[in-house]
């Protein structure tokens, strides 16, 4: 019963957050300076009429919130024929609009880019989680030894390592052996089957290593400190006294209890994953969400910005919700709250 209340409460708050985000999403990009029409028109020589036509096509001729004059005249429905109501209406229909710059459906564009970003980041993320957790746990267990020191130094080093720097160094090292950037050899299509996927795999090696190295630091440090706390507890001593093997102590007693802060960490990282890693995508010229958003900011491509921020918000909120739910499963105290 309590558990169900907890769930409902969490989901309710997630939903509220989402609505607030959707609202701010609209507001945020319209505060930015710069006129999107100037960027849709490629030519400085375009006539005023042609510019107006583009404005109308993209709904930019309408007022942002409502038309005060028409409201005054009593034309309530007409007055609220605004960019905001159109945004809400389309959002409810699941229509994210058409990109100014790409002249393409935003949902299609986002879906296409999102899977590329997930392909790019997932491997590195997961590798980092596993390596970071293992190394952190070993460091905590071997606390104070040279091994621990090495792990700690590595953690600090990789945490501080700039992504783009490591990426470029790896590119230089692998020069001639692995492709320099891009996602696939030009012209190769998924229809080519295995050849295509092997080619993508080859392009993935360096970004995956980069991400794994850069992300491990964080996991090592958190896992190490959290495990160290757990290992100093009395029940670990009891376990040792019972004669359990090191592996079993670490797995059954230490890891499990040290997992709590890690769960939050992992969930957040995975949530942000969807938003793309602009630096990795830039260094490896990977056409993912991060670069799409970066370009959209430059081009004041409101629909793409709104869509991608919404997607980002949804994934972060979902990841948080997941962390909350896992918490309640991992830690009995959370339920009682």
């Amino acid at each position: 019963m309590q558990r169900r209340d907890y769930l409902i409460r969490k989901i309710f708050f997630a939903f509220i957050t989402l609505i607030v985000v959707a609202f701010f999403n609209f507001l945020l990009f319209r505060i930015l300076p710069g006129d999107p029409v100037r960027l849709i028109i490629h030519s400085p020589r375009m006539t005023r009429e042609a510019q107006e036509r583009i404005r109308t096509n993209f709904g930019l001729d309408k007022p942002v919130w409502f038309d005060g004059e028409r409201l005054h005249e009593g034309d309530v429905i007409g007055a609220f024929d605004s960019q905001f109501t159109a945004y809400v209406r389309n959002l409810l229909r699941g229509d994210l609009g058409i990109s100014f710059a790409h002249r393409q459906d935003v949902s299609t564009l986002l879906a296409e880019r999102a899977w590329r970003t997930v392909v790019l980041l997932l491997g590195g993320d997961l590798l980092a989680v596993v390596l970071g957790m293992t190394a952190g746990l070993i460091g905590a267990w071997r606390r104070g030894t040279r091994l621990d020191l090495a792990i700690l130094l590595w953690g600090l080093f990789s945490w501080a390592l700039p992504t783009f720097f490591l990426g470029i160094i790896l590119l230089i090292l692998a020069r001639g052996r692995l492709p320099v950037g891009g996602m696939v050899t030009a012209g190769l299509k998924p229809e080519a089957g295995l050849t295509y996927w092997l080619d993508v795999g080859k392009h993935l090696i360096l970004p995956t290593i980069t991400l794994a190295v850069v992300y491990t630091g964080e996991y090592i440090l958190i896992m190490r400190s959290s495990a160290m706390e757990v290992l100093s507890e009395d029940y670990i001593l009891t376990a040792k006294a019972k004669g359990l093997s090191t592996f079993r102590i670490l797995r059954d007693h230490a890891l499990k209890n040290a997992m709590l802060p890690m769960v939050t960490m992992i969930a957040l990282t995975l949530g942000y994953t969807v938003g793309g890693a602009i630096q990795v995508e830039t260094v490896f010229s990977w056409p993912g969400l991060g670069r799409l958003m970066y370009e959209a900011v430059q081009k004041r491509d409101y629909p793409v910005l709104q869509g991608s921020f919404l997607l980002l918000a949804i994934s972060v909120i979902a990841a948080n919700l997941l962390a909350d739910l896992l918490y309640s499963a991992l830690d009995p105290r959370v339920k009682a709250e």
Binding site: S43, R48, G123, I168, L178, G181, G182, G187, E191
Partner: protein, 564 residues
């Protein structure tokens, strides 16, 4: 429940450990054996024209990979402004721009002009076809030019402003009647007017033309046809079998987009790409030390300049309109330092708006004014701009401090250049703190001429008309090219005169006079004529022409060939 969850986590961890390692490790042994990528198996099914040739006997196509930071924004040539050299491989013009100051016959084999300069008759090449197989005779060319004029095609219709009538007398004769004589028919008007096929564009409304996208937009008569473009990733061109000069020696040209210059340079060193279309200054050294790479530092038609707001309704302070102040600023403008820090030395100090690469058009009588803040200070003292309140900044007669707004687009080199400019001006008692902003914010200042100084640049036409055109009064309207707000009666008169002067020596004299006028009035302080730096793999390709200032420019590119 708890143990189940635990198992689930373990499974996740195991999966996570193995999955990336499967992706990550499998191809590794393979990569140590062979450096270059396996070429995609040409997908003959998708390309009907290739279906006849069976893959086993077909030799591997020679592919040249070009690295660039931006391919283009659209395949549609009617409003796309990026990468002229790429489009020029796809489309032909009547007369072709060859080496920087020369022009060559293209679709027109030869031409004559009537004595009054109004009627031009072109002999059109026979046997030319568009990529879709439709013929390209004088009829289609006349259609294309008329269609360009009628639809006011953004990218090139303004070149055809004086065209009164275009008719095909027979399949090999094209006649153009002008409303006024034109001084630069060969050297400007026809160089950029691509001939597009009626089979694709005929019957479209203006909106349909503007929205047209896809491979068909890339149908022309040029040496390469557009095969595929994936936005943000790559673009593939393929040799056109029936190109009128004969099939080009390089079978495929692939443009690849890179997000950063540094990575692009690594890609060239690795052999992933064969040409970099624009090498940033800092990359030159590392490329020059590689013996498989040839770095080309070529004269170009690029100029960069400090724009001084000259619009009579602009928001600049009154002191900025004083010719003496502008002269003093010229003495405080350290071109040598700007070129060293902003262009790493790859540029020459400039005087007039027309670069030296334009040959005779460049007014070589105008002598450079060297950096000399002492002289600058003397001029300002004499003109009555004194630092009355001793704060290091001079004031004008009404006590307004000489503080100017100095802007540029946000690039690393611009930030350095602005520092040099600001520092130079401060030495003559003018305060101009630098501000960088993104391009559209900068463009946004134009409708009201709401700026004092902007550092910016141009890529010019080989003919001087365009460089002069940007200082004409009409071009100050929103959407025009005039970015300084300059408008002068004498200059206007000379511009109109040179436009209709057919005698090229007379026209040169006018152009020289106009340069002198601009140099004296100073709407621009032109800083440098900078080099176009390109690099290519000299172990794979050879023979590119070097006179165009761009080895990817059709005329020079077609001279290149692969090394067997």
């Amino acid at each position: 429940m708890k143990t189940n969850l635990w198992r689930f986590l373990v499974v996740c961890v195991v999966l996570a450990l193995t999955a990336p390692s499967l992706i990550g490790c499998q191809p590794q042994p393979e990569t140590t054996t062979e450096a270059p990528q396996v070429q995609p198996t040409e997908a003959p099914a998708a390309e009907p024209t290739l279906a006849g040739a069976e893959p086993p006997t077909e030799p591997e196509p020679v592919t040249l990979h070009v690295g660039t930071t931006y391919i283009w924004d659209t395949a549609n040539p009617t409003f796309g402004w990026y990468n002229y050299n790429l489009r020029n491989l796809i489309y032909d013009t009547l007369i072709e721009w060859g080496d920087i100051d020369t022009f060559e016959p293209d679709l027109a084999e030869s031409w004559t002009v009537s004595d009054d300069g109004l009627v031009w008759t072109f002999k059109i090449r026979e046997g030319v076809t568009f990529h879709d197989g439709t013929p390209c005779t004088a009829e289609e060319i006349a259609w294309s030019l008329n269609w360009t004029i009628e639809n006011e095609i953004e990218t090139f219709s303004f070149y055809l402003a004086n065209f009164a009538e275009v008719v095909a007398l027979d399949p090999t004769t094209l006649q153009v009647t002008l409303s006024d004589p034109v001084g630069n028919m060969e050297s400007a008007l026809l160089l950029f007017t691509w001939i597009l096929p009626p089979s694709v564009w005929d019957g479209m409304s203006y909106d349909e033309i503007m929205e047209f996208e896809g491979v068909a937009a890339g149908i022309g008569t040029g040496p390469y046809k557009l095969v595929e473009w994936v936005e943000g990733e790559y673009l593939i061109l393929e040799a056109f079998e029936d190109y009128w000069r004969g099939r080009p020696a390089i079978d495929r040209v692939v443009y690849r987009e890179f997000a950063t210059d540094d990575v692009m340079i690594q890609a060239l060193l690795a052999g992933d790409i064969d040409v970099i279309d624009m090498v940033p200054g800092p990359g030159v050294q590392s490329l020059e030390s590689a013996d498989t790479v040839e770095v080309l530092i070529m004269d170009s038609l690029f100029i960069d300049e400090l724009i001084i707001n000259s619009h009579e309704n602009g928001t600049q302070p009154a002191s900025l309109n004083d010719p003496q102040v502008r002269l003093a600023m010229e003495y405080a403008f350290d071109r040598g330092q700007i070129i060293t820090l902003g262009y790493l030395g790859y540029g020459e100090p400039a005087t007039t708006v027309l670069p030296t690469s334009m040959g005779d058009w460049h007014n070589s009588d105008i002598k450079p004014i060297l950096f000399d803040p002492v002289e600058g200070n003397r001029i300002l003292d004499e003109a009555g701009y004194l630092d009355t309140d001793r704060d290091g900044i001079r004031e004008d007669g009404e006590g307004n401090p000489m503080e100017y707004r100095l802007y540029a687009t946000d690039s690393a080199s611009n930030a350095r250049i602005l520092e040099v400019i600001s520092d130079g001006l401060s030495q003559i008692g003018i305060s101009a703190p630098p501000t960088v902003m993104n391009e559209d914010s900068l463009i946004g200042l134009y409708p009201d001429f709401d700026f004092d100084l902007i550092y910016w640049g141009w890529g010019l036409d080989p003919d001087p008309d365009f460089a002069m055109f940007i200082f004409t009064c009409d071009q100050r309207e929103e959407g025009g090219w005039n970015d300084s707000g300059y408008c002068n009666e004498d200059f206007e008169r000379m511009y109109e005169e040179q436009a209709v002067t057919v005698d090229q020596e007379e026209r040169r004299e006018l152009i020289w006079e106009m340069q002198q006028k601009l140099f004296d009035d100073r709407p621009y302080l032109v800083s440098t004529y900078y080099d176009n730096i390109q690099a290519y793999r000299s172990d794979r390709f050879t023979g590119f022409g070097l006179g165009c200032g761009d080895i990817l420019w059709k005329w020079c590119f077609l001279q290149g060939s692969p090394i067997e």
